[in-house]
Amino acid sequence: MNTPKENPVSTTAAAPSGAPSKKDAPSSGSRLTEHLGDFKRLSFWAENAAPIGLLLLVIVFSFLSPIFFTTGNISAILMASSILVVLAIGQSFVITTGGIDLSIAATMTLGAVVFGLSWDAGHNFWLAVLLGIGASTLMGAASGFLISKGKVTDFIATLGTMGVATGLALILSNGRPITIRSDELLSLTTGKVWIVGLPFVIAATVAVLAWFVMFRTPFGMHIQAVGGSEEAAVANGVKAGRIRLAVYVISGALAGLAAILLIARVGAAEPAVNQAYLLNSIAAVVLGGVALAGGRAKIAGPVLGAILLMALTNGLTLMGVSQFYQPLAVGLVVVLAALLTRFQSR
């Protein structure tokens, strides 16, 4: 009763099932059977909801629509999902620390408007890109400072920066879209590597880099540690405040990159509210098997989750389902995934 802060070691924690008595990893034979056993566990399905769901979707839609599983359409799905993939990766970094970035879509909009204005002002394309991404990064840093230095909770801080970013985008652009005609943007939209459009190549590159940072660098380990237990991380010398700041900077920068992809897609920088992107970025992360409580990082999951959401929308459109039903379908899929995560082994 005197030491509420200290939880003594849980004596109820179960011993690991079948803990090997030998020191190192089990032999490859037992590893195989272990993996076969995986399929029987609900946690296996829960942890791999995104790839399994994607596979199911592809199979079902391929039967329902002859167009769905064609190179043209697959290429279109990947193209359409590139923006969400980039956003979901940013969101995944934040959620791994146990936070959430509600400002991600608004920050993207702000980045798009700043890019548009810079371009309109006659700046070089790459300078405009730099300014757009820079503005978004600053927005992310603002959220990060509020959270790490101001000790504001993630939800409230990013709710605030969401409003600020949306407002700034409207004020700066006077509420009107800025049409962009640039050769660089044109080659971004039309460029291809085999059947894969350049935007998706960019998104995939971001994913590979993000995976490397998260799982192969001390920084990535610290992100997971802060999300898992800030107290323990700090006791081991991790600077939790810096890590929290950094993930929001990453999220902001990726929102800026997504802004460029968005402009390439619609051909204009619009101050429109892109709230669907916010919800879908969180949905993709949840579908990817990342717990909102933080501590367990995933990159491939959220990427597949983003593609899944886009494949779902695409398939429904192909089947002539009214646009009105699409948010409903997305919502149901996310709820299903969220229910499944309850069965994840931790």
Partner: protein, 258 residues
């Protein structure tokens, strides 16, 4: 009033001394001028009732808390631990009462968190996972009754295994001082014996130890010097050879004043 330190034997040399340490959390005065002396190569025991302030003192010595007042001398020089990293740099390793393990990370990651081994240079320096796994396995040694694979997540370990991981980490990294805050609190007989062996091995290697324990037999068996805390103050010090379990109980409860 009762804070006069027991006369220290002049022949041993002091490695760490903390004096007049105060620390408050809001209105809670956890430490009200505690002091502690650790002699080089000795096992110093710190005992006291729950809430006496032992863990708070430990956290001040390991850089998690910064004391509100008082000073810490290490090797005669005044030190200030602004962060746990600073304490580590001075060779102080700690097994916190809450073990300070990140459950979502693996055993080897917990061994190396905050001091990862990397290979490569600049932005392309990456974790040397192989090396860290191998070294963790070494550090874990034969401490645990059921050695967990270093690649398993801490969440999956039993209470005893977790405690073993935390102790092995501190012992493995130790250079000069190891602090253990109730290291055997949740352990069985066999596991406790192993931890006591670790303590003896460390002492034989010349490491200076601070042991916090409620087990008086253990304290008398392992330590050279005993400090007693009560309500944020160090109220008595004894050489382990000059005291008994009964006296320690009396000192802890206040039935006997210093």
């Amino acid at each position: 009033m009762t804070t006069t330190p027991a006369p220290a034997p002049a022949d041993t040399d002091v490695l760490l001394s903390a004096t007049g340490i105060t620390k408050s959390f809001g209105g809670v005065h956890a430490l009200r001028g505690a002091h502690l002396t650790m002699r080089r190569g000795e096992v110093t025991a710190l005992i006291g009732d729950n809430g006496a302030g032992k863990s708070t003192l430990v956290r001040c010595l390991s850089g998690i808390h910064q004391p509100d007042g008082g000073e810490i001398l290490l090797d005669g020089k005044k030190v200030h631990f602004a962060s746990p990293l600073k304490a580590r740099e001075h060779g102080i390793e700690t097994v916190q009462q809450n073990l300070a393990l990140v459950e979502d990370l693996t055993v080897w990651q917990n061994f190396f968190i905050g001091r990862e081994l990397t290979k490569g240079v600049g932005p392309f320096s990456m974790l040397d996972r192989k090396k860290m796994k191998a070294q963790s396995l070494d550090m874990l040694g034969d401490l645990a009754v059921n050695i967990p694979p270093v690649t398993s997540r801490v969440r999956r370990l039993s209470g005893g295994q977790r405690q073993a991981v935390s102790i092995a980490r501190a012992a493995g990294w130790s250079t000069s001082i190891v602090i253990m805050d109730e290291p055997t609190a949740a352990l069985g007989v066999q596991e406790t014996a192993r931890v006591e062996n670790v303590i003896k091995t460390l002492r034989d290697k010349g490491v200076t130890l601070l042991l916090i324990s409620h087990n008086f037999d253990q304290v008398l068996r392992l330590s050279d010097h005993v400090a007693v805390m009560r309500r944020g103050l160090t109220v008595a010090e004894r050489r382990a050879t000059d005291t008994s379990g009964d006296e320690l109980v009396a000192l802890i409860t206040g039935a006997k004043e210093s």
